[in-house]
Amino acid sequence: MDMVKVKINGIDVEVPKGSTILEAARYLGIEIPTLCYMKEINEIGACRICVVEVKGAKSLVTACVYPVAEGMEINTNSKKVQDARRMTLELILSTHNRSCLSCVRSGTCELQRLCQEFGVENESRFDGEKCDVTTDDSAIHMVRDNTKCILCRRCVAACAEQKVAVIGVNDRGFDTHIGCTFDVALNEVPCVSCGQCIVNCPTGALTEKDDTDKVTAALNDPSKHVIVQTAPSIRVTLGECFDMPIGSNVTGKMVAALRRLGFDKVFDTDFAADLTIMEEAAEFIDRVKNGGKLPIITSCSPGWIKYCEYYYPEMLENLSSCKSPQQMFGAITKTWYAKKMGIDPKDIFVVGIMPCTAKKFEVARDDESASGYPDVDVALTTRELGRMISRAHINFKALPDEAFDNPLGDSTGAGTIFGATGGVMEAALRTAAEWLEEKPLDNVDFKEVRGTDTIKEAVYKVAGMDVKVAVTSGLKGAHELMERVKNGETFHFIEVMGCPGGCVNGGGQPIQSATTRSFVDLKAKRAAALYEADADMPLRKSHENPAIKMVYEEFLDKPGSHTAHHVLHTSYVDRSKDVIR
């Protein structure tokens, strides 16, 4: 690699040619503050918070986009630099709705942090007119409050990266604002509810729609049997809400916290992930044997499902008809479990703790109410659960480890890895291969489908057949793969997750700053904790889960049975026409 010599804050360093000043400084452990910068997806040099002094340059330069050159002398911290940054912050604040006291992003807000660091005390120095575009709360999953927007465009880049691009920058000058085409509401355009814009927003301008009050109300209603289920990925992310390191597995503390919040039963969506595998593996085998539609495509990710309904309606038949694990969980709870426990399903209130804002859309979908009542009543994001725990003043880090309740808390390693891209495929292969070959697998690790590459492909020999699989995460990858399928490429089984990296990087996960998102492999670190948990589990194949066996024996009969279809499967709709695009 070609290297160049530069001097930063008086220290000599050699860095790869072509590095930006921002990257070069990191070699010395010098962090330069940023606001608009997101590595690879938003390198636009717009906010000017990252300015530094370069010897000989006429004015300050933006470190996030400015490449280093041989012999360059850079100062990242001079008085001039600090004054410029402070001024930039004061100007941003001049149109900002400064309500940090109650803002949900207080504490994780990048703007707030910078103002604190730079000692911006005179917040209202340039107070002036405010932009008249304010709130859009039309969508079921999120709210945009433009009065807290700093126009960094990170959300626009994130949405475009998802191949959706329904939000952008409208008008110009003082009127510049983030919005949808013709300034229609977000629910009139084909937004897939993924929430990637939210996790990339530095401020409180974009937030999930907070449903914690609904859950608190149910918990305080004595007539309700309130059941909580936790998605596979949230046990390795929830700790971040309490400043624990990225990739901490906090399963035991999470269960303890939920119990202290007052849930009647603390169950695990991992159980339903195992159930999903039973149905999906059976559906796959059925399609292969009986000439059904191939490739079969997974249906666990509601952001992906909505994307398919908007953008690839011609592929709807390829989707597995399996409900997602969240919905299967609710369906089984309000049918089999309700009967077993002698509780009327109308009195059961099911809460899902999900990594995902699209889950809020999913709970409201049609054909998701096996018992006659909605399978799931409320889906909360990991962040909302963190908020409920904080609000209850539970000292999370000091909690003991507790175990899930039975029977819907039983799971296998296969269910656990659903939270990472490739996990569903691997779990399905463990079961499908064993069923097809009619003998125990020697090796349950399908490593080719692991990892954070956008698209992963493999061919496995199963019972004499070459099974061609592909796994993708992030809708850009889904788009690419769907085009390949439409162009005639053969696959048998495809897994799609709506968010890059899968659920561990879902739009409902704890917020990490742009610096962390740019320079730490968040997806891989969180996923590693799931694979570690899988490796430690005594059971690693869904069909070996004793609770699953019991549910089939007592209620469902066998995968794909009439009852299973009624309770665990769903249908999709072509949404391509009912929106502005």
């Binding site: 008008d171 085409t181 502005i580 695009r581």
Partner: protein
């Protein structure tokens, strides 16, 4: 200023659509196609309503929000149609001082349209313009190529009546 959007129903013809499709086909695959295609679309339709922006977005494989962002950033793009007669009232300093705003108000009162709007029958549209160099005649307005000077709001109805005939 935020761009005003048309509330009139879209009245594009098959011929216009065919013309636009030809333009889009000519530019397919060209990464810098958006602005020139939008410009030509505006030449064809006179403005860029949602229906036209949607055709452009689909034709070029981009999002309609992107098209809209560009349309509202550059002043050359209009989101409202032009009438058969375009009324421009000069709001340059001289005209403004001599009461040009009153002319705008009088037109709005008479036709029911504000700046950047078009009457429902498609006859008139109104716009405010910068100094046209006829300060001696302030306040000035033009209707297509006709120039009217030293106006007061009382003159408006009489002038408009000529065009309605």
């Amino acid at each position: 200023m935020k761009k005003r959007k048309s509330t009139l129903p879209f009245a594009g013809t098959k011929e216009q659509e065919a013309q636009l499709m030809t333009v889009i086909d000519e530019h397919r695959g060209d990464p810098g196609a958006l602005m020139p295609v939008m410009q030509k679309a505006q030449d064809i339709y006179g403005y860029l309503p949602m229906e036209v922006q949607s055709m452009i977005a689909k034709g070029l494989g981009t999002s309609i929000e992107k098209v809209y962002g560009v349309a509202t950033f550059y002043s050359q793009f209009a989101l409202t149609p032009k009438g058969r007669y375009t009324i421009s009232v000069c709001l340059g300093t001289a005209c403004y001082v001599k009461g040009a705003q009153k002319l705008v108000d009088a037109i709005t009162k008479s036709l029911g349209i504000g700046p950047d709007e078009c009457t429902e029958d498609g006859l008139f549209s109104l716009e405010a313009c910068r100094c046209i160099g006829a300060c001696g005649l302030a306040p000035v307005m033009t209707i297509n190529d006709e120039v009217y000077g030293r106006l007061t709001e009382k003159d408006i109805d009489g002038i408009l009546a000529k065009y309605k005939a």
